[in-house]
Symmetry: D2
Subunit: 142 residues, 4 copies
């Protein structure tokens, strides 16, 4: 297994009066990492699928542990792997590091959805094959 890596920079507007990243911004980081997975690893522009194919990947379930605060100026190393690859749903694990410190651990499940019909559809085989490359263990494949 390999994992996908990208980086995020904490900006001034992300930091709250308590001096740490306002937590809803962390979910923006997760979405941006998700876009990066699609664009850089899967080879698809996220927006193009939505616009041209009306295929989207809304979040179904999210679990996040906030282990250490992120602060202004931190450059966050984001590592993404796949914990479960279903027919329509995909579960990704995101680990956000600053240096050696694991600051945020997130597990997010998205469904592949026909946006016009508003219901789940299978992922394409091409997409599944790309996510399989970052799957944590072979036996997790549903």
């Amino acid at each position: 297994m390999s994992e996908f890596r990208t980086t995020v920079s904490v900006r001034f507007g992300d930091v709250d009066p308590a001096g740490i990243v306002y937590f809803p911004r962390i979910y923006e980081y997760l979405h941006e990492a998700f876009e990066d997975v699609w664009e850089q690893h899967v080879g698809e522009r996220y927006y193009r699928m939505i616009q041209d194919e009306r295929r989207g990947f809304p979040l179904v379930h999210s679990e996040v542990d906030f282990k250490s605060p992120l602060r202004f100026g931190d450059v966050v190393d984001v590592r993404v792997s796949c914990t479960k690859l279903g027919n329509s749903s995909t579960t990704l694990r995101y680990r956000l590091f600053v240096g050696e410190t694991l600051c945020v651990h997130a597990v997010q499940t998205t469904a592949c959805v026909d946006l016009d019909a508003g219901k789940a559809i299978p992922m394409t085989d091409e997409h599944r094959a790309r996510f399989a490359l970052i799957l944590e263990s072979a036996e997790s494949t549903a």
Copy 2:
């Protein structure tokens, strides 16, 4: 037990190109509901604690199920109860309804923290007493 209720309106800027609320905005709604709990139910201004007492309540763990999409113009009925009331930590359940439909179910645990020392401290008895009023069952009290 009673629960705390507040409302949130979905604004234009919250909606993504897929026509539904961009999920990080939902975490902003949860934080706004948390501020409302403090101000309207507990009787404390959240900001005042941070600024004057350097006491904050950062998120430690979050679990959210996205059951039905929120859309532009939805007026969301937010119901908040307490599932666990510890010495320093508090776990709140948020249910976001549009009409009769449960759209989002969230469980969020925050710790009471001394922001200068950067470590957990006990909640005050007054605050605990207020959260106890929305506790789901007496036996959940730690």
Copy 3:
């Protein structure tokens, strides 16, 4: 002339580490007031026009004076009037007060646009008539 009035509350997530509202949030307040003008004064849901008629009102020009900072917890009294009502474009003045203090003065010009063709189109007579009611002086009408 009358003016349109609405309110905005400054939330925790709007405030930066300097203790005042991060200025991009003020532009969100202005857009929210614009949505309120449409919905409450003109009688049109902003989103419905975009979605059903593919008619939008993108910002063309913006001038803002930041006279006094907004702070967490402020309840802002927003007053909106029209300074110029053209064929396709509309210029609105927004004044944001906290108590008697004028904190923000903004003048924003939007064009009525066919979103599919991507070009300016005339406003409907019904919409013009509603904006005329908050026009500052009759001679401003182009």
Copy 4:
């Protein structure tokens, strides 16, 4: 004269249901470019000044022309120059290009402020000297 250059990427969460960047996000891009000017050109971390010296640069006046919409996936070339360098205030021009197209033209004036006293103070000579390097014409210096 030289100008400072940086880039911004349009992300999914920046785009509204009309398919273009929701304009308040453009003000976030401007603030991010302002942070980059401080960090990369002036050689100061913006946050450090606020936190350690309680010196900030709130926006006083803003004028923006939106000439062409920004869209998801655009990589925006941001060019920053100084149009006026006062004792306490600084006026910067930001031009946002996508390819050869000028999409946004902004002029923003900030004041140097003692955040505790809440009043304007002179910029340091070192900071002035750095902004002078991107000044559009020598005679603009106040």
